[in-house]
Symmetry: C2
Subunit: 469 residues, 2 copies
């Protein structure tokens, strides 16, 4: 019996079946996706992960790998095609190896949180090139599996660029290790790049080797209120061209900042200056071996469209400014279960795209409230909609189709950084051609021929695995 | 008939069968690999590439894709398992699209040379993050297919990190395009990363979209004679820690420099100072928004073990210093058809590895002459051996096995940047586990089930395509 076999492999304490206990593993962080697991397995070692996969394969029960369960697309919970799966929680694989200071590398268990790995690296004089608000819960395994983006993509790229190696347990329980740490090792297809972003559908990541980045000696953040979005987009180009140390250009709007202030009981960033609700604010951060404040101030002073600015050089003040940006997700989630979309469009088309969104959303859903923020330098916009009837699945789908179709029409992406998961499966064809979808299915079938791993994510379970369409 | 069909698709002028004409396509650049092609097909468009693949699939004739044919592992010629293949030359796909200056991207036909793309980018104020001596012949398609390394890996990484998108013709003639140019587009497995480095075995790359890099305002090179290899390795760490603008740290030895000087009729870099033949020389290059000469000079002056140094700041003087490094391949090829190996070992083990090589080579092949150079900062050593009997295949294999086994024992790579091709097939198992080899075979089988594409490269033709070993 499945449960007996799992208990035999992991011990009874680490096979959870009590619904009161499993519920937090079965519900995604947004509250939009929920299913029932036959059990939650909590292995502590790579060998135990392999044992769980072999047991599930033998019983024909699918497996949903899960890290910190902070994903935003329902990819880590046993919903939809994965209902009744075993949730394979990696959170007990928390070991972090000593930093290899000469090579600038660290290897961590999949279940180590991003914040723990960041602290571990910092103690050795290094930083991690990935960062985002959920750092205290998100695990490095989940970050790799979802190719997380976040607030440092401008300088360091997505997670794929930070991953030097992986340990992965394959669907049949065999273990693949690529942890040499060599900067050059050009022997065969680059499997780590393939597993990064595969969202648990090709194998279960058990260790992640990260390329670390230098810790800048100085860091300055500024919050700028800008006259309008075209001016904000223009400012990105100016900053990129003139501020060598640019590390992040994040976008929020006046209404979102007000929402965060109300949710957190914070003062407004520009007290006594009630800018219009649709005023874009840019959170700009610069880093450098020397204080970058002068460079940033010079660029801002000569820029057109800046209405007001607050500059922060101390860690406390910078955190205060970042809270206006990072508080958005929680503030919106506190209103409602939002419809969450994550799109990219070419930066030159961003302003027109936002204008169209502001018209399109009320046209489709008159009661809806639109919340926008994102990573402007990377042309990545988070589109959240609240005020939708929770039961109104049709309305959510209609709105999703309208917004994602609009993004795709601009040559944009329907999943800039959050991935596909279960939430975006119906719309993958807007961003990927039939030829490419057929290749995705063929690769999935090659590595997971029985569809054991996270069914219903990235590749439709019904696809044949032949790339000939 | 195959030839008739190819002529129908491409015209008679672009289907070459005259042995006097095809020979240059059938012999690899090192002279070590040679085979006969049934024909050389020279399509001019993506559609023609697709037509060639469909024709070859119909006739059951394998296809060897070829760019500039400057590879060093026999991967682009119809030898071994690919004897009698059609060589598919991409060299007529030379169109380069205008640089997207806002996004820092350019898209080029697979047959455009690296030098042409570099010049095109430079005219728009950008550089290409990949560079190496064969730039005038190597094509961007070949660079992507082989995940080329070269002289800028320290700062920019291997080619995979520069590729923003690809157009690829699959084995069945369907065309896969991922050329959105979006910095974030996290929808499904990252197929460009998979095709980069696949050496023509998964698809035929027809367009390459490259992420461009900034052109530094100033550039300084220095050639340093160093007392011994441990001191040179120590100097790498010092330079990395103290020179923010470090761009390259290349390694040559006194005997190699003498060989280049003799081959090119150049004066010695340190006239009147006859350092021992095994003296390591480091070619160090720094770049920056301002002149990095001072930083470099300060680091060198306080470093231990530097015997002498020449600094070059003008383009002419820098090229003169680089010629001592870049002239190695041609100078060694002029002696003989060398045994060419390309290994990486952890930098901390490099000195002991080189000591062992200097003992190991004469023990296996008493008449042999060992030539060493490489990319020291990335711990990548090019091992060339001349003076071997050309017919002495056994001796070459024995020496290869000894050297690659020694590198693997140190946790090294048997193919740091040159790839696998046909030359390294027998030794892939030294760098990749059975579990990983099984995955490589499964991916190959998923994308090329009939083994049409470059048979005998990366994946052995006999493997089943199941990853269950």
């Amino acid at each position: 019996m499945l449960i007996t076999d799992l208990v035999g492999a992991l011990g009874a304490a680490h096979v959870l079946t009590d619904p009161d206990v499993t519920v937090s593993y079965e519900t995604d962080w947004t509250g939009a996706f929920r299913g029932r697991a036959v059990a939650v397995a909590r292995p502590a070692t790579t060998d135990q992960v392999a044992a769980v996969l072999r047991i599930c394969a033998r019983h024909g029960v699918p497996v949903v790998p899960q890290g910190g369960n902070t994903g935003l697309v329902g990819g880590s919970v046993p919903a939809g095609a994965a209902a009744g799966a075993v949730v394979l929680s990696l959170r007990r694989l928390t070991a972090i190896e000593p930093v290899d200071a000469a090579a600038g590398l660290v290897t961590a268990g999949a279940g180590a949180t991003l914040a723990d790995v960041q602290a571990h690296a910092r103690a050795a004089g290094y930083g991690v090139g990935v960062d985002f608000a959920a750092r205290d819960s998100a695990t490095v395994g989940g970050i790799a599996a979802s190719n997380a983006g976040g607030e440092r993509v401008l300088r360091h790229g997505m997670t794929r660029g930070q991953v030097a190696g992986l340990e992965v347990v394959l669907a049949d329980g065999s273990v693949l290790r690529r942890l040499s740490g060599l900067p050059k090792d050009n022997v065969g297809y680059d499997l780590p790049s393939l597993f990064v972003g595969s969202e648990g559908t090709l194998g279960v990541i058990t260790k992640v080797q990260l390329r670390l980045v230098g810790l800048p000696a100085a860091r300055t953040a500024a919050l700028l209120a800008v006259s309008d979005l075209p001016a904000a987009v223009g400012l990105v180009a100016t900053l990129r061209a003139t501020v060598a140390s640019l590390d992040a250009v994040e976008l929020v709007f006046g209404d979102g900042v007000d929402l965060v202030c109300a949710h957190q009981g914070r003062p407004a960033p520009f007290p006594g200056r009630p800018f219009p609700q649709d005023t874009p604010y840019l959170l700009v951060e610069c880093v450098g071996p020397t204080d970058p404040t002068g460079d940033l101030a010079a660029a801002v002073e000569t820029a057109t469209g800046v209405l007001d600015a607050v500059v922060a050089t101390t860690a406390t003040d910078r955190e205060r400014l970042w809270a206006y940006r990072e508080g958005h997700t929680a503030a919106v989630n506190a209103l409602d279960v939002p419809l969450k979309l994550d799109v990219a469009v070419p930066l030159a088309r961003m302003s027109a795209f936002v204008d169209d969104l502001r018209a399109l959303v009320p046209a489709v859903a008159p009661s809806a409230r639109l919340h926008l923020w994102g990573h402007l330098a990377e042309a990545n916009l988070h589109v959240n909609v609240t005020g939708l009837d929770r039961g109104d699945t049709g309305g959510r789908e209609e709105l999703t189709t309208a917004i994602l179709t609009r993004a795709a029409a601009d040559g944009g992406s329907i999943g800039a950084e959050h991935g596909v998961g279960r939430a975006k499966m119906a719309w993958v064809g807007l961003s990927r051609s039939p030829a490419e979808l057929a290749v995705l299915a063929a690769v999935k079938h090659a590595l997971d021929p029985t569809g054991l791993l996270n069914p219903g994510v990235i590749v439709s379970p019904g696809l044949t695995g032949s790339y000939r369409v």
